[in-house]
Symmetry: C2
Subunit: 294 residues, 2 copies
């Protein structure tokens, strides 16, 4: 039942971790990998993440049971076109992109007769460091994985996609691409923007470097996501900009509530605003986590 030949398009953190996890789960006996970079292909082979490296996408996906696309969003269209030409019609194709409406739109114009093979996926996992040298078989363990099947996605492909992510330790959810993009604009993309904006706002001030050096554990955790990869996050924010801008407008209003209470010297209002946020966050739990992992 489980795929034997895995074709990895993009040998980075996400794809490499998928390959390591798949191998450990006992399927994916042959892993073929494509990377545009020769250095990356060599690293992927040397690290034992892939069994065979290819210089063309077409060769990589020939005869594949499962094709995993794990490249920055801006490379998606070009990769889909090459994949569609050479992938067997019986294969399952998934991506791991952090936005879904744009990927589905690109799939509809590029995958042609292979559209039914495609099940869009977004595992909620990552690191602030990119590259295959950071690949980790545990990356998807206990993490949420969102599938956003299209009207064209094959029923068997969707079922297999669920089975595959569960075998890697993921908790699988389904939603529409639009629901996905609204959700992650709010709980992922805007937090990244805020962390970037805070760092830039501080660093631009005369004493900014000294101030940053004094940051404690709260600052460390709040700003951790600001270290994430500029190309990957440029693509995510651009692709989902309408939802992101809708959420930053609401964030500005919520921030203004706090600023007004401070400006007008209203400690009771301020306390209520904090208490609301504090109660919400104190009750929050990372999906699939133990109680202590908050």
């Amino acid at each position: 039942m489980k795929p034997q030949k895995l074709a990895l398009i993009g040998c980075g953190l996400m794809g490499g971790s998928f390959a390591l996890a798949a191998r450990r789960a006992g399927w994916a006996s042959h892993i073929h990998g494509f990377s545009a970079s020769e250095t990356t292909r060599h690293k992927a082979l040397a690290l034992g993440v892939i069994d065979q490296a290819h210089e063309s996408i077409e060769k990589t996906v020939e005869g594949a049971d499962l094709v995993l696309l794990a490249v920055p969003l801006s490379a998606t269209a070009q990769c889909f076109e090459a994949i569609a030409q050479a992938m067997p019609s019986s294969a399952l194709l998934m991506d791991v992109g952090s936005t879904k409406s744009d990927v589905v739109a690109v799939a509809q114009t590029t995958l042609a007769g292979k559209l039914s093979c495609f099940v869009p996926a977004h595992p909620i996992a990552g690191k602030e460091v990119a590259g295959i040298e950071h690949a980790d078989a545990d990356l998807y363990q206990n993490r949420q994985v969102i599938l956003t099947p299209t009207a064209s996605s094959g029923v068997l492909q969707v079922a297999l996609a669920q089975e595959i992510w569960r075998s890697l330790g993921g908790h699988v959810f389904q939603m529409t691409p639009a629901q996905h993009d609204a959700t992650f604009a709010a709980v992922s993309h805007v937090p990244h923007l805020l962390a970037y904006a805070l760092i830039n706002a501080i660093a631009a001030q005369a004493d900014g470097a000294q101030w940053l050096a004094m940051g404690g554990p709260g600052f460390r955790d709040f700003s951790r996501i600001a270290a994430s990869d500029p190309v990957i996050w440029r693509d995510i924010l651009m692709a989902n900009r309408h939802e992101v801008l809708r959420q930053t407008a609401l964030l500005r209003q919520a921030l203004e509530d706090f600023e007004t209470a401070l400006q007008q010297g209203q400690p009771k209002v301020l306390q209520q605003l904090i208490a609301k946020a504090s109660a919400t966050r104190a009750a929050w739990r990372l999906s699939g986590s133990s109680d202590s992992d908050v």
Copy 2:
């Protein structure tokens, strides 16, 4: 040299952790504690954090070598007045408040002849949970401790304050109260505001609860500080509101740079903005931490 009789005014997370750490460091052979709450006094005794509980501040500080004030900022003035009446002139008095200009101003109007005893202190440590039951002898280990001596602070008191915090594992820095408040508006108070505002902005939307449930590890870390105590943080933000508002205005501008790049479809500009933040954060290290503790 080291203080034997420690008087703890306020038996919460910060004060309780100080007492446990002092005891472990081998000084503070007698620890007296005051709390306005009878329940807290009983807990502090039962947990072995203090040796003796008192219902009045005056009795607690009688004959003390060291008085540590660890109460919400809004209770500072009242506590200082009681402390000044009964504390020996030879004692060292420190607070642990997260703002310093306001505490120094209050000290100058309430401590009278005991002003030279006072060395304002701010250990950069805490938890999202309050209360003595979470007290932890390791809380100050490898954490920064900011001292902001006033013109009236005694030289011996300042030297003893440094020695004490170092004995608890802290890294001691000195700055002026104004420098302190500008620094921590930027790297602590505004991050708290942003985390609160984000949670409130999401929770206020129709699908907000569902969206929050999908947050991953990035959301967890970014929003951790939003769970912090509403009374303590009301006081901090109110006390430092001028610096906080100056920083939120700059944050809004930095956020607008990102929003404009998104609105105008400028991926290159967006990538530059992210790259600046990402490089700054990737090079950042928590003071006193190992390289892996970023």
